[in-house]
């Protein structure tokens, strides 16, 4: 049971990718120089966080009806 529609989550993840790719540019600009492997790991971590957020039980919304999925 996810916080958002799984398809919306998928689109969100796809949309995150260009941001992650460009984050590498920002990192270089700020003086960090991550390797390709580090960048990929960071990207995967962000994706895991988003997926985790989507599927983590929302305890502070105890009795809200679940989504249709």
């Amino acid at each position: 049971m996810s916080r958002i529609d799984p398809v919306v989550l998928l689109v969100l993840l796809v949309f995150t990718v260009p941001i992650l790719v460009q984050l590498r540019t920002v990192a270089f600009y700020l003086g960090f120089e991550p390797t390709v492997t580090q960048s990929i790991i960071l990207g995967l971590a962000v994706i895991v966080v988003i997926v985790g957020w989507a599927y983590w039980p929302a305890r502070w919304l105890p009795s809200e009806p679940e989504g249709c999925e």
Partner: protein, 573 residues
């Protein structure tokens, strides 16, 4: 309420045929694209580097002329007949222009493919831009001319339909879809005259040996006189879909009809007098002419920025109709499961990114840094390669059922397809832009020289890996698209499962706008004046410098030339 094929069975057949031709070109073009990606990056080389340019010519011509323009005639035929609610006047005439376009494509393709086969003494590895004195076999020019004449006749067909409607409805506002078609055709006639004259007056006679030489700068200028307007010729059907189909599938209405008209009028006025911005680094053209082209180009940002506003506002309206609330939470209420919506929305997002790299290209003196580098390839894969191509593919998922009566097959696959395209282009285009900044040239089989390129961030190997990853995903996405198309065509006819053939109504309707917007004669007249202002002096100056046929020079390639330079090339190695 019924589907298009029920309303206009004969036109649906024409639209179908044009779409299928476009899809064949898309499939072939994508396969050639994959070959190039793997070749350039030295991952897999199945062709010789000398044949790379023939493959590149096919990739360019098939995708930016055949795929886009065949899809355009399909969309425009649909737009005219649906919005005027009347069939095309003469079906034999319609099939004639379709035949001319198809025949032209085939004739142009023969010498290009001939370049790959040693036994055939023809070639046309001149790329999409065919700059003289690079010379193609005369069949290439004939094919090109027939194709363009085909599009002209298609325009005549739509204008005749409009005029017949006008006689019966003398006081009504032009329906928005028809207005879009007519303004687009206005600048298409205006601009394609340039390339037609270049081909018929100079290049074709020259390829037949009637002239010894042509003026390289003049024919190049005449190409770009058309060459930037053609970009908007691809983009206008895309905008049409963003204005008419996207708000509808989002569940809402178009924000403003009059502003949509203003946008199309601006494109009619400014598409053509900007072509010299492709020639910022050309010798023989004064800086002042380049400056004028730069300011015109910058003002072309306005209609695109207006479009961004209208499209986002229309989508938001749709989301709120669907129960969306909040400042940004409404985004979640949009129909993301629908590949038609998601594909077009993602295409729009990428077009915004393309706008940024486009400003760099348009910046007269900034252009020195990126001109003809890989950056430019990254730029137009976001524009024509995503804003246009992805929108067309997404729209196909709506149009195919309309013109065949068969419900869409494999909707989840279709959704995956548009997402995959977005992912692939993210990597490929990013790496191309970066490579261009490091000076890697476009249009080259082997960007591996005796010196090395030094990207500001990362390495060339990293950029190559991104290009390969992106190119492969894009190819897979194309295969997936064609699979969905074939799956749909194999299915049975069932119009009850297909939405009715309609387009988005407007919140602010046509009547809110001044009538002068519909005065097409006036706008075309102003467009002609602007073109004369922008081009009369540069053309006169070029001809004054070195004559209509140039200061001399011979056509290439020549047989002796090839042998001679093979020796030089080996010596240089």
């Amino acid at each position: 309420m019924s589907t298009y094929v029920e309303q206009f069975p004969a036109e649906a057949r024409l639209v179908r045929s044009a779409m299928y031709t476009a899809f064949v070109a898309l499939g072939l073009g994508a396969a050639f694209g994959l070959l190039q990606v793997l070749h350039r990056t030295n991952v897999l080389r199945v062709i010789d580097s000398t044949d790379y340019y023939t493959i590149l010519t096919l990739h360019g011509v098939l995708l930016v002329l055949t795929f886009t323009i065949f899809f355009l005639v399909a969309i425009f035929t649909w737009a005219i007949t649906t919005s005027l609610d009347r069939p095309l006047p003469d079906h034999r005439f319609s099939w004639t222009w379709y035949g001319l376009m198809t025949g032209g494509t085939v004739l142009a393709a023969i010498p290009i493919v001939g370049g790959l086969i040693d036994q055939i003494d023809m070639s046309a590895a001149v790329l999409f831009t065919f700059y003289a004195p690079l010379q193609a076999h005369w069949l290439f020019y004939v094919g090109l001319a027939l194709f363009v004449v085909g599009t002209w006749l298609a325009g005549v067909d739509w204008i005749r339909t409009y005029l017949a409607w006008r006689r019966e409805h003398p006081d009504e506002r032009i329906p928005l879809p028809t207005f879009m078609v007519l303004t687009t055709m206005g600048f298409w006639y205006l601009s394609s005259v340039g390339v037609a004259l270049s081909v018929l007056v100079f290049l074709l006679p020259w390829s037949l040996g009637i002239f010894e030489h042509v003026n390289a700068l003049l024919t190049r200028t005449m190409f770009w006189y058309f060459g930037h307007a053609v970009v908007y010729f691809w983009l206008m059907p895309t905008y049409l879909l963003w204005y008419l189909l996207l708000p509808k599938v989002a569940g809402g209405k178009l924000f403003s009809d009059p502003l949509a008209r203003i946008v199309f009028v601006l494109f009619l006025l400014l598409s053509t007098p900007t072509g010299i911005h492709h020639q910022y680094l050309d010798p023989g053209i004064a800086e002042g002419f380049k400056y004028v082209a730069m300011t015109n180009t910058m003002f072309l940002l306005l209609p695109s920025l207006l479009t961004a506003f209208t499209v986002v506002a229309s989508i938001e309206h749709g989301a709120r109709q669907r129960g969306g609330t909040g400042r940004l939470r409404w985004l979640g209420a949009l129909p993301w499961r629908d590949p038609v919506f998601t594909g077009m929305a993602l295409a729009g997002v990428m077009f915004a990114a393309a706008g940024f790299s486009g400003i760099v290209n348009a910046g007269l003196n900034v252009n020195y840094l990126v001109h003809n580098t890989f950056w430019v390839v990254g730029h137009f894969h976001l524009t024509v390669g995503t804003a246009v191509a992805l929108t067309f593919m997404a729209a196909s998922y709506w149009f195919l059922p309309q013109v065949t009566g068969k419900p869409l097959w494999g909707r989840p696959l279709a959704l995956g397809q548009v997402l995959l395209w977005f992912l692939g282009m993210t990597f490929m285009s990013n790496a191309m832009h970066r490579g261009g900044l490091a000076g890697i040239p476009r249009r080259t089989a082997e960007p591996q020289y005796n010196f090395s390129f030094e990207p500001a961030i990362g390495s060339v190997a990293e950029l190559d890996a991104q290009v390969v990853l992106g190119g492969t995903l894009l190819f897979l996405s194309t295969v997936l698209f064609l699979t969905v198309v074939l799956g749909t065509l194999r299915g049975g006819v069932d119009p009850t499962r297909i939405p009715a053939n309609t387009y988005a109504a407007a919140l602010s309707e046509a009547e809110d706008g001044p009538r002068i917007l519909d005065n097409l004669r006036l706008w075309v007249l102003i467009a002609v004046v602007l073109v004369i202002l922008a081009y009369a002096f540069p053309i006169a100056a070029i001809v004054d410098r070195s004559g209509w046929l140039g200061p001399g020079g011979s056509p290439y390639p020549q047989v002796v030339w090839v042998v001679e330079y093979l020796v030089v090339a080996l010596a240089l190695r």
